[in-house]
Amino acid sequence: MNRLRQSVTAKTIAALLSAVFFAGALIGASILTAVSGIYVLPGESAYYGSTWCYDKTVEIAGEVALWYYANDWMDESALSAEARERFGPDKTNLGFRLIVEERSGPDTFDSGSAATQEAQRSETVLLESYIPERAGFHMRYHYADLVVECYVSSPLTAADEFWEDKNIFDRLAAEQDMISLLLGVCAAGLLVTVVVLCLSAGRRGDSAEITLNGLDRVPLDFYLLADGLFIVFLISTIDGLFYGTGLHGVVAVIIPTLCYLMGLAALLTIAARAKAGGIFKNTLVYRSWRTLYGGIKRVCSAVTDTAGMIVKNARVTFKAGFAFIAAQLINVCLAAGFFTGGGPFFFFLGAIFNFLLLAGLCVIAVNLQRLQDGAKRLAEGELDFRVDTARMFADFKTHAERLGRIGEGMSIALEQRMRSERLKTELITNVSHDIKTPLTSIINYVDLLDKESLTGQPQEYVEVLKRQSARLRKLTEDLVEASKASAGMVNLSLEKTGVCELLQQGLGEYEEKLAQGNLETVITAPEAELYVMADGRLLWRVIDNLLNNACKYSLPGTRVYFNVYRLDDQVGILIKNISKERLNIDADELMERFVRGDASRATEGSGLGLNIARSLVELMKGSFSISADGDLFKAHIRLPCWACSL
């Protein structure tokens, strides 16, 4: 049941059913109203008292009037003959007399009694078709200045529209009970569909929540207004359609049904909104009120906050207020002096006073500007900048001095940090010196052992010792270098350095190692040499580390690509190689100290290479990044180009 209620198709069907019920009820009700004949004349068929008969009479009378207007150029006898011919008792059941009303005497607008006005009126019969012996219905129909006095004969004599209507009418009148039943059923159905639709409004699918559709989100007042306007428009079209199309019955049913559907839609959206809550919140009126209210509230809170701030900081505000009032008082006094006859003297005095006041304000503004400037420079890292305190008011001066003290504190802290960084590096350097001495002995004696022409197991042990002591040596060297590079304790001499030349030199150094790994190198570079501002020795260390890695970790038989390019004021070097092992760690992590591509640490190396490379590139004001895309390992160096940094 719930699913049925919430299915869109079911809802649409219910709405259509509802419309059908409405139309049925409308038809039934109108038939019943007509048939039950309110104006029944004694001894006559109910048809003559019904609106059907009335409407038909009006329609035919209108046709007669129009006909008359179209033919009144004919002479009277011809016209009369034509009328009898056209509207004879065998042709139509409507007998009529065309009358023109004339008013005798001048037109007066004075308030004569109705009786006198009546008396002044006279009637002239223009034309008469026939008057039936017995009229079931009689009316006077005014059409412009004509009056058509109509009589519908009883019983009907001609098989015209009246006759057709009456036949249907009589048949319907005989079926009154059936129609009442139909009306009842339609009314009940209408009620049920409306209730069901209201209940299911806002429910959709399997969700237990109320979901609003697009229309439900339109502001309610706007929606109702548009809906209402459309209904009014529909109703306004009724008259035109009614007489224009001749489809009376259809128009009389369809337009109200459409109106009903519009009304139903409005009802359903109200129902859905009511269920979702906040039926009035989604209205233009409410929204505008909220905006307005919010604005007012903000203004009010701003005012109260400012007032609160002024009161809380009474000491300062008192000063400012006092100065303001004093200045105003002096001005008032001077003005009073001027106007009570002091003349030029007071004017002169006032001018001087206000000039001084302006000068004071300017000085305050300049002081503030200086303080702001000082704070800005401090924030930008210019820690030894001091605000010029000359010609500063006392309060501003203290502030400036305090700013200076902040700068001092910060530079002390910075210096301490630098010193501790330096100490750390020194410690590492010293420790590694102390390690080197015993290491020398180890290496030498292992070498001596190696020369003792050992065989079997002992020889293998010595091999291990040799390998590991060599590694320890490399590790200590790299450790010192890494800590120096990251602390910036490297002698840096930035000079014009050719990137391609350096790469060629490097590849020359690595020729054998690359051949060992069966690695091919591909350099793509512009024809003209690109120069960077760098320390060639340090840049070589970077390339050295990267080439070393490429040899160590590349898949044999692959290519190593070197891409040198210029972008704006930077020169980029991109080195790409295919990794032998799966890179199972994050690229950024690789740059951390002691992290290596193969988690097993099977190969020699300290894991410091990339870290050193990054530190060195950064020392040379460049940037270094690495990335891994599947097995493709990329190292990217960017350095300021030589000509650009001049």
Partner: protein, 230 residues
Amino acid sequence: MPNILICDDEKDIVAALRIYLGSEGYRIFEAYTGKGAIETVRREDIHLILMDIMMPELDGIKATARLREDYNIPIILLTAKSEDSDKILGLNIGADDYITKPFNPVEVIARVKSQLRRYVSLGGMAKKSSVFRIGGVELDDEAKTVRVDGEPAALTPIEYNILLLLMKSPGRVYSSAQIYEQVWNESAYGSENAVAVHIRHLREKIEINPSEPRYLKVVWGLGYKFEKEG
């Protein structure tokens, strides 16, 4: 046979060096402090000193300075300090060479030999105009021979020409392209790699430790040069 003094406070290192150098046939004297070294030099006829820098009583730098007042025997410093500034200080004070710990025994022997040859056998030889001599490297353009510390080095014609070009104007930096054009007599077009490879081979032939060359230096990003003497 030349007498060599080994001076280090670390007795194990002294013993190891004694084994290496002894096996080369040198007579070895030992000292464990700077003071001991000076006393030994005064007492014995020493031809070369291997001296550690960090030692008790008198360190290697001070001992070297004091020895230089009276003697001109070659002194090679051995030290764990690897900073450039330490090397420069050591060489300025009068040391002839410098080896950082941990060292490769083979390198130590090579350097010892090199210093001894220059001290003992090579005096002031008469200089011909076709002979270029810088440090321990001597190139005779007439005989087309190259000797390093008196020992002949076997160079290929291209290596020889490169060395000749660089030694003609020591200190001047030649780019790979320039070297290629001058030696091969062709325009360098993507062949600079060949120059780098030849230079490396050349370095392996004339340098004791090719990765820390004394003569044939790489100026990274610019080219190559032959270091000026002094």
